[in-house]
């Protein structure tokens, strides 16, 4: 009698739940052949990844992060859990944690310009982005053009300098480090700059570009590629290369040490520095190639005709960010 009663009891909820919503089984996650981590813009990475997939037939999963997130992942050493390869990341960041990467020398390395691949084969350059000082031509006349990093400290730009937090952007981490280490740089450069920016800093590079293009801010630092693209869109801006020496940001690709798809990762690196992708970079995205056998985008001088600072500054990134963190949050909080 007890068993029967129990059976009826068990049957009733079964019937009742039977009429509830149909449960859908969770789809099985697609197992990617390669997991790529990048913070490159969608318009840069998406066509390249798509072409790679078209050519190889492999499934590539893309994790779109930010410079800041990648920095945290590198510092925490958790990259092997999430991806096989880091694509288009700041070479200085990759260099700062050599233990994270699996050394690899691409067969295409011979075609890569000097300084655009790692001495220790930790990373392979993908593109070069020289930093420029951009200004709005409607508010900055040809007589008062900025000249170099120290121009950013001039009182005439007070409150009109667009600057971004170096913790959030490799462009600004590189720019600030280059400015601090410039030959004629004054002491306490960061403090002076913070005062001159009126203690405001941007969180996004596109906002910053927009602010200068619209004339809300007069000058700022950006990449050559951004400046060229804005000019081609008809914005009233122009740019100069800093007179202290041009700083070039290297976007590089590295294989994460301990990756289970190491072979696919190597093939991917070969593809990214291959002539097709590099040509695509210059022709479709107006970005400088790291290869010597490809001309820069139309209207730009070849790198070797410009003086540029070597990437040795990269070791100083963390120090720069430390100084920034000391100066900026405290002053901004005080002002608040």
């Amino acid at each position: 009698m007890k068993r029967k009663f129990l059976a009826v009891l068990l049957l009733c909820p079964g019937l009742l739940t039977g009429c509830s919503q149909y449960r859908t089984p969770e789809p099985e996650p697609v197992i990617a052949d390669l997991v790529v981590y990048t913070y490159q813009e969608e318009m840069v990475c998406s066509p390249i990844i798509k072409e790679y997939q078209e050519r190889t037939g492999l499934t590539v999963q893309v994790i779109n992060g930010t410079y800041e997130e990648l920095r945290e992942q590198v510092l925490a050493g958790t990259l092997p859990e999430i991806c096989d390869v880091v694509f288009g990341a700041d070479a200085a960041l990759l260099e700062s944690a050599p233990e994270c990467w699996e050394p690899y020398a691409s067969p295409e390395a011979s075609a890569i310009a000097n300084g655009f691949s790692s001495a220790g084969k930790l990373w392979t350059g993908f593109s070069a982005r020289p930093l420029v000082i951009m200004y709005n031509t409607r508010v900055v006349t040809y007589r008062e053009l900025p000249e170099g990093w120290n121009s950013l400290l001039e009182p005439r730009w007070h409150g009109r300098i667009a600057f971004m937090k170096p913790t959030l952007s490799d462009v600004y981490a590189c720019a600030l480090t280059a400015a601090i280490h410039a030959p004629a740089a004054p002491d306490h450069y960061v403090e002076q700059l913070a005062a001159n920016t009126d203690y405001t800093a941007f969180d996004s590079l596109s906002d910053l570009n927009q602010a200068i293009a619209e004339g809300r801010h007069f000058v700022g630092v950006t990449t050559e590629e951004n400046a060229v693209s804005l000019i081609s869109e008809g914005a009233d801006i122009d740019y100069i290369y800093p007179q202290e020496g041009m700083c070039v940001l290297i976007d590089a690709t590295a294989i994460v040490a301990g990756s289970s798809n190491s072979d696919q990762a190597k093939a991917f690196i070969d593809f990214t520095v291959g002539i097709d992708v590099q040509y695509f970079l210059t022709s479709a995205i107006s970005r400088r190639s790291v290869r010597t056998d490809i001309l820069p985008p139309s209207g730009l001088s070849p790198l070797n005709t410009l003086s540029y600072t070597s990437v040795s500054l990269q070791d100083e990134y963390e120090k720069t960010i430390k100084i920034w963190n000391e100066v900026f949050p405290s002053t901004s909080e005080e002002r608040k």
């Binding site: 009698m1 149909y22 089984p25 695509f280």
Partner: protein, 569 residues
């Protein structure tokens, strides 16, 4: 469980029983109805979904097939190749456009045809508003076509195309018969192409999504949908699941490298199902309340009279016979209550009668005791009279006094019952007295079988009868005859009955008197206290069936008989 039900009050057992009988079928039928209804609707929707998806696939395949055919025809035409080599002559170009428009008649409204040279430079196009620029020769569609002999399909990269409306491209290489490549035929499919293609295939609530060979969506029938809207649909389609209100199905053609996904809303939307569930819930609730109400009424209707009966029984057990159950029901329970009422009423009356009987007995006894007081004094006085008459030598007076004294002594004795022989002895004393009074007027005899002499009778029971016979029966007769005889017989119940009769041959009893004696419960009558007392004594002691019976003898005279059960000492 069974024990639990057994211990439940009767009322609750009926209640639970009714509830179970009414609710369980209701619940089961409700649940099954909703499920079967839902399942049949889903089956119907799934069939519609499949046929719709097949139609979509047919249209796509048809379009691609006709594009293939047009491309191959163009590629096979030597004149196209010639124009690519030599573009200086205007008539060649005119011919080419003519050929182009002839070839693409079928597909004109769905795809734009263009011809690129091997460097990716646009040479001819059917798209009048073309914004298409040159194509990179080592990238994307041109590269893909260069690596394949037949037509290839390519999901156009949204970041690279100058015309964002172009979502899909197809291309095949243009080669001479000797295999020398001169350019590429490229087909552009825009979102509008697919809108037109599917326009009759779906209604507003359906969503069609087309994926490329890499699983990336390149077309959605809802222009307002962005990636975030499409992602969950892809996820559901991949699990071939059903979410609330939607059905999903997908089909793919590896030849053309596309996957088509159709999201269709079910015929009955999720809110409608919810409403149905709500309605069935409220029906069940209504059923429950109705059932509860009826069950309560029914169980109360049955259990209330029973509990009243139970309570009344308890009162009766405690001695309260006045309890009555008031009911106007005509059913079995009503009859039961009425029977109970009748039973208690009868019991009450019986008890009342018994008490009254006892009271009467006590009264009679009291009177008897009271009558015993005077005879003592009389007895002593009679003794004095007797001795004084002896002294004065009057012979009759001592005899009278002696016999009277004997009678008195017997009548005042404390024993209520005496043997028949003792009773007859008393009668003999009485006869001696009466003989002195009425000298020679009557003859007295006894006919008593010796076996009956020790039968017990109430004392002084015969004396009033003999007195009546002498004083009334033989009144005016000079030679009367009085006889006392006794007989026994067995009645139908097997009890032995003693009958003692006093007969005379006198004038006979008058009929009125006889009727009074023979009536079942004679009332007290002035002047006939003796007879009344005899009747009462016999009926009280022995029961109503015993008593006194009088009859006139046919040859004259009266016989008065007492009947009582035979008891011996």
């Amino acid at each position: 469980m069974r024990e639990f039900f057994r211990n439940l009050p009767f009322k609750f057992r009926i209640l639970f029983g009714c509830l179970a009988v009414a609710l369980i079928p209701l619940l089961f039928s409700g649940v099954f109805m909703v499920r079967i209804f839902d399942a049949s609707l889903r089956r119907q929707s799934t069939m519609e979904l499949t046929s719709q998806l097949n139609e979509i696939q047919n249209r796509l395949d048809q379009l691609f097939l006709s594009c293939d055919a047009a491309c191959l025809k163009l590629a096979a035409d030597e004149s196209v190749y010639r124009v690519m080599i030599d573009n200086t002559r205007m008539e060649f170009q005119k011919d080419l456009y003519l050929l182009l428009y002839q070839m693409i008649q079928e597909t004109y409204s769905y795809a734009g045809f263009s011809i690129y040279d091997i460097g990716g430079k646009l040479r001819f196009t059917t798209d009048n508003n073309s914004t298409t620029e040159d194509l990179p020769p080592h990238w994307g569609i041109i590269r893909k076509a260069s690596h394949h002999d037949d037509i290839v399909y390519y999901h156009t990269d949204p970041y690279l195309t100058a015309n964002p409306d172009i979502v899909l491209q197809a291309a095949c290489s243009l080669e001479s018969r000797q295999g020398a490549r001169a350019g590429y035929i490229v087909l552009d499919f825009t979102k509008d192409s697919f809108h037109r293609l599917f326009s009759s295939n779906y209604n507003d609530s359906d969503v069609i999504i087309l994926l490329d060979s890499l699983g990336k969506p390149f077309y959605c029938s809802r222009p307002e949908y962005n990636e975030a809207d499409i992602a969950p649909i892809l996820k559901q389609a991949a699990s071939s699941g059903q979410t609330s209100g939607f059905l999903y199905a997908s089909t793919s053609n590896p030849d053309y490298g596309y996957t088509a996904i159709l999201q269709k809303s079910t015929q009955i939307s999720s809110p409608a199902i919810k409403t149905m569930n709500t309605i069935s819930f409220f029906i069940a609730l209504f059923g429950l309340s109705l059932c509860l109400f009826i069950s309560l009424a029914l169980s109360r209707g049955i259990s209330q009279p029973i509990s009243e009966l139970d309570l009344a029984m308890r009162k009766v057990r405690d001695g309260d016979l006045s309890v009555r159950i008031f009911t106007n029901r005509k059913d079995e329970l009503g009859r039961l209550s009425n029977s109970f009422n009748r039973m208690t009423k009868d019991l009450d009356e019986q008890l009342h009668t018994a008490v009254q009987k006892q009271k009467d007995l006590n009264e009679t006894n009291l009177k008897l005791y009271q009558t015993q007081l005077n005879p003592h004094f009389l007895y002593n006085t009679l003794d004095t009279i007797k001795w004084s008459a002896k002294i004065n030598e009057n012979p009759e007076i001592p005899v009278l006094a002696e016999n009277l004294a004997q009678i008195l002594r017997r009548s005042i004795s404390s024993e209520p019952f005496i043997t028949l022989s003792q009773e007859l002895e008393t009668i003999r004393y009485y006869i001696q007295i009466q003989k002195i009074r009425f000298t020679g007027r009557f003859l007295y005899e006894e006919e008593i079988p010796y076996q009956l002499e020790d039968c017990l009778v109430p004392k002084m029971i015969l004396q009033p009868l003999v007195e009546n016979a002498i004083l009334h029966g033989l009144d005016g007769y000079e030679h009367g005859y009085i006889c006392i005889y006794a007989t026994t017989f067995k009645n139908t119940a097997g009890t032995e009955i003693l009958r003692v009769s006093v007969t005379d041959d006198g004038c006979g009893i008058n009929p009125e008197m006889m009727d009074w004696i023979n009536s079942p419960g004679p009332q007290k009558r002035p002047g006939h206290l003796g007879l009344y007392n005899i009747i009462q004594i016999l009926k009280l002691y022995y029961g109503k069936e015993y008593g006194l019976h009088a009859e006139r003898n046919p040859e004259g005279g009266t016989a008065v008989t007492i009947s009582l059960p035979v008891e011996r000492r």
